[in-house]
């Protein structure tokens, strides 16, 4: 065993808190190589290094207790000082955003809920702008219907790809009739999902005379 291996083994023994004197291999190596003996003796001495710490004053516990009693709330975890203002700002932002959204949504709902009164008033008002409003409303209705038709056509073509038998032979099965009606109801089903603006346009369209039964008027 060379000197380096000898010292590494000594280190391992001391890491494990074992005495080098108890290791037979080291003792044998030290017997064979006298120059390793001082090293073995030095590590033995280090392994049994005495604890030379002076005695601690006996009143330490009393002093700690005195200070502990003066602590205001020892069991409460301290909150970081920056956390309170941050939480207040975050809460304010959340409340302000909620109020803004609620106000916006309420405005749109008001337009949807009472379109007929507004529209009737507008229609009855002898105003030169009235024809323009009617024309714009009709244009909006036309756009909406065009969109619905496009949507229906898209669904129809998609459905013909997915379920090619659906449009083949007519059947007397009542569920089949429901299926055929289902396709027509797609735009109506989509309507609640649309945003407030298109909902308002739809309601306006229903309220303005002449746009309710638009098919009869050639739309």
């Amino acid at each position: 065993m060379n000197r380096e291996a000898f010292e590494n083994r000594l280190q391992d023994l001391l890491d494990a808190r074992r005495s080098p004197a108890s290791d037979a291999e080291l003792a044998r190596a030290a017997d064979e190589q006298p120059d390793l003996r001082p090293l073995l003796a030095a590590y033995e001495l280090l392994a049994s290094a005495p604890r030379s710490v002076p005695a601690l004053q006996s009143d330490l516990t009393e002093r700690v207790l005195r200070e502990w009693k003066q602590l205001p709330t020892p069991a409460r975890p301290a909150m970081p000082s920056w956390l309170a203002p941050l939480a207040a700002v975050a809460a304010t932002l959340v409340i302000a955003t909620s109020i803004a959204f609620l106000a916006q949504d309420r405005g749109a709902n008001r337009l949807v809920d009472k379109p007929s009164e507004n529209s009737a008033k507008i229609a009855q008002t002898p105003n030169t702008d009235a024809p323009d409003l009617n024309r714009l409303t009709r244009q909006a209705a036309q756009n909406y219907r065009s969109l619905a038709a496009n949507t229906e056509a898209s669904f129809s073509s998609a459905l013909s790809v997915v379920q090619p038998n659906r449009h083949k032979a007519p059947t007397t099965d009542p569920t089949a009739a429901q299926d055929s009606n289902w396709l027509r109801s797609v735009p109506n089903n989509l309507r609640p999902l649309s945003n407030s603006a298109s909902g308002a346009v739809y309601s306006l369209m229903r309220a303005v005379p002449g746009t309710e039964n638009d098919e009869q008027e050639g739309y």
Binding site: P38, A41, A42, L46, P50, S52, Q57, L60, P74, A75
Partner: protein, 201 residues
């Protein structure tokens, strides 16, 4: 295997006892605070003394460490061991004090005059003094790591928490400390002398 299992059980029991003490302290029980301080004062003072090398400073920091630990006890993670947490607090306080001192901590034992006691004193005391003298000439990190491992019987992990450095670094410091100490003891003829004395007996 059997011995390892037994040690593990002993450690678990010790940990349970420590956690029970912590819970009672959190409940505001004065007797538990007394028991906690009594249980760990030796370890904390030993660490502070090894790091600061000054008795009065070590006592002050020990007291301060306990007060800080009790103040922060509600934030202690009960799944962890209490002793490393407490030693980490003490280590932080020692580092703060060392940084304010701006001077190398003096060792408790004087470097001079040890040789005067060589003949005629008890062998153990003499060897202890020789080790302390060699220790005082080591780099501060080596000295602290060695003392905490061998003289305070802390584990590498506990020393790492106390000194605020990785376990691998602590191990390296302890190994280098041993190597330098062994060389110093051989150079001073301490171990040769010990051998002669043993033969003489």
């Amino acid at each position: 295997m059997h011995l390892l299992g037994e040690r593990s059980r002993e450690r678990d029991n010790l940990r349970d006892d420590e956690l029970e003490l912590v819970r009672r302290c959190l409940a505001g029980e004065q007797a538990a605070v007394t028991a906690l301080v009594d249980a760990f004062r030796g370890a904390v003072f030993g660490l502070c003394y090894r790091m600061l090398g000054h008795r009065q400073d070590a006592e002050d920091v020990t007291q301060e460490s306990f007060v800080r630990a009790l103040r922060s006890l509600a934030g202690f993670d009960l799944t962890r061991d209490f002793k490393p947490w407490l030693l980490a607090i003490a280590g932080n306080r020692c580092r703060t004090m060392l940084s304010t001192r701006k001077r190398r901590p003096p060792m408790a034992l004087p470097a001079e005059g040890v040789e005067d006691h060589l003949p005629g004193v008890e062998e153990a005391k003499h060897l202890g003094e020789e080790v302390e003298l060699a220790l005082s000439q080591l780099r501060e990190e080596y000295r602290q790591a060695f003392s905490l491992f061998h003289q305070e019987q802390l584990s590498y992990a506990e020393i790492g928490e106390a000194l605020g450095c990785p376990v691998g670094t602590v191990k390296t410091w302890v190994h280098r400390a041993r190597k330098e100490l062994a060389a110093a003891l051989i150079q001073r003829g301490v171990v040769e002398e010990q051998r002669h004395e043993s033969r003489g007996v």
